[in-house]
């Protein structure tokens, strides 16, 4: 039990706290405090994720045990009973608030995930879509416009959900990226400010749905923190692209 062979080095500060958290050794109060910091402090969240990566192989020690079928039925009841279909009880609009903030603490998208996303889009669906599903999925690569800002946009017509993945390009401090949809000659309509370094989902209302399905263009502009004060783009367009059906 002696620690004499350890060269006197110690884990300290947040690094030690992150290790304690991932090991699962913090008591209730300290664990809750650490969990709150993960949601609000990107630097601390990164330390935690690094420890998660280091310790992940230990999970091989968990022996798989088949759960009883009743668990899945109860789960389906909880998630899907109210809507009776493929929609979600938590509408995609929920991100306005807590989720956006907490998502913002996660770091930039992993290349592997992007590869996965592209593949998902390229492969046939495992389950056939419901017969009444409107137009399928549309994808746009919002390519840099005199910037290095690059996003992927996926629009799912069946759930009227826009998924947005950050690829490259950082905003200046004190500025925000705002997403716009532009149809023909009409003024751009805002889909909201895009949180930093994240993959997010935006709900699409009826008016925007028609624009999108009519073949609108997406654009991202650089705006003051919190988004355009006027409701129209005020800063330079840093990325733009057309939706394509896949």
């Amino acid at each position: 039990m002696s620690a004499a062979d350890d060269n006197g080095r110690e884990l300290t500060g947040d690094d030690a706290l992150a290790a304690d958290y991932v090991l699962g050794a913090l008591d209730g109060d300290d664990r809750r405090a650490a969990a709150r910091r993960i949601e609000t402090e990107p630097g601390f969240a990164r330390l935690v994720e690094r420890w998660e990566e280091h310790m992940a192989p230990l999970a091989a020690g968990y022996e798989p045990v088949e759960p009883p079928a009743a668990v899945k039925s109860a789960l389906d009841q909880r998630l899907f009973a109210a809507s009776g279909g493929a929609t979600t009880p938590r509408k995609a609009a929920a991100p306005a608030g807590g989720l956006w903030q907490s998502l913002a603490v996660w770091r930039g998208i992993a290349a592997a995930a992007i590869a996965g996303l592209v593949l998902v889009l390229a492969v046939p669906l495992l389950a056939p879509p419901p017969a009444d599903e409107p137009a399928g999925r549309l994808v746009a690569s919002l390519a840099p416009q005199e910037s290095n800002v690059h996003y992927f946009v996926v629009y799912d017509a069946s759930t009227r959900d826009i998924g947005l993945s950050h690829v490259t390009g950082e905003r200046d401090s004190g500025r925000d990226f705002e997403l716009w949809v532009i149809e023909g000659d009409t003024p751009p309509a805002s889909l909201g400010v895009i949180p930093a370094g994240s993959t997010v989902h935006l709900a699409v209302g009826e008016a925007l749905r028609r624009k999108i399905e009519a073949g609108a263009v997406f654009a991202i502009s650089l705006e003051p923190a919190g988004g355009s004060p006027s409701g129209q783009p005020t800063g330079p367009v840093v990325a733009a692209g057309n939706l394509r059906e896949i």
């Binding site: 884990l11 699962g24 789960l75 930039g108 799912d156 759930t159 994240s198």
Partner: protein, 179 residues
């Protein structure tokens, strides 16, 4: 199911694709139930926790895309963190601690989800560099989610000793993994 297949299912789940979610459940629920059982050591609680875990996966699958973890590691982290949270809140509320359900002790058994083999060899090699008792303590602490206080009691050492001992082991482990 390769990790890549699991990645696709998680990404499609984030797009609220219920078929993908069902398949993801079929492919991964045994592993995650194993996590819940091992941490909670109570079948009914583990079943309830497993439901909570998949509710989280359904609602938070988009977070996976911005994580650097492998898909199975990410799913295990969701399950493990939730089970440990439940374990802590149970103990705080004074409910019985040891409704001892026999849960097999961890042993290097065959993995049904074929993942992480090279990472696993690396961490096994690094754990081998710790002395046997320390390696076992790190594994045991990670798998059970016991607090430093509980681990100290079980090992019969002061809490600070336990914490120092495990943290130094983790530091050595990280040094080894980053070499």
């Amino acid at each position: 199911m390769t990790p890549h297949d699991i990645t696709k299912l998680i990404v499609r789940t984030s797009m609220k694709d219920r078929g993908a979610f069902d398949l993801l459940y079929r492919q991964t629920s045994a592993k995650l139930f194993g996590v819940c059982l091992r941490v909670l050591r109570d079948r009914a609680e583990a079943e309830e926790a497993l439901q909570d875990v998949y509710v989280k996966i359904w609602t938070k699958a988009d977070r996976f895309a911005v994580s650097d973890l492998s898909p199975i590691s990410w799913l295990v982290a969701v399950a493990r963190n939730h089970a440990i949270d439940k374990l802590r809140s149970r103990r705080a509320s004074g409910a019985p601690i040891d409704q001892a359900v026999e849960v097999a002790d961890p042993k290097p058994g065959p993995e049904t989800v074929a993942v992480m083999t090279s990472e696993r060899r690396r961490i096994d090699a690094c754990l081998d560099e710790l002395d046997g008792e320390r390696a076992a303590a790190v594994r045991g602490a990670y798998l059970s989610g016991e607090s430093y206080a509980e681990l100290a009691t079980r090992h019969g050492v002061p809490l600070n000793t336990m914490r120092t001992w495990l943290r130094r082991s983790l530091l050595k482990l990280r040094d080894c993994l980053e070499r």
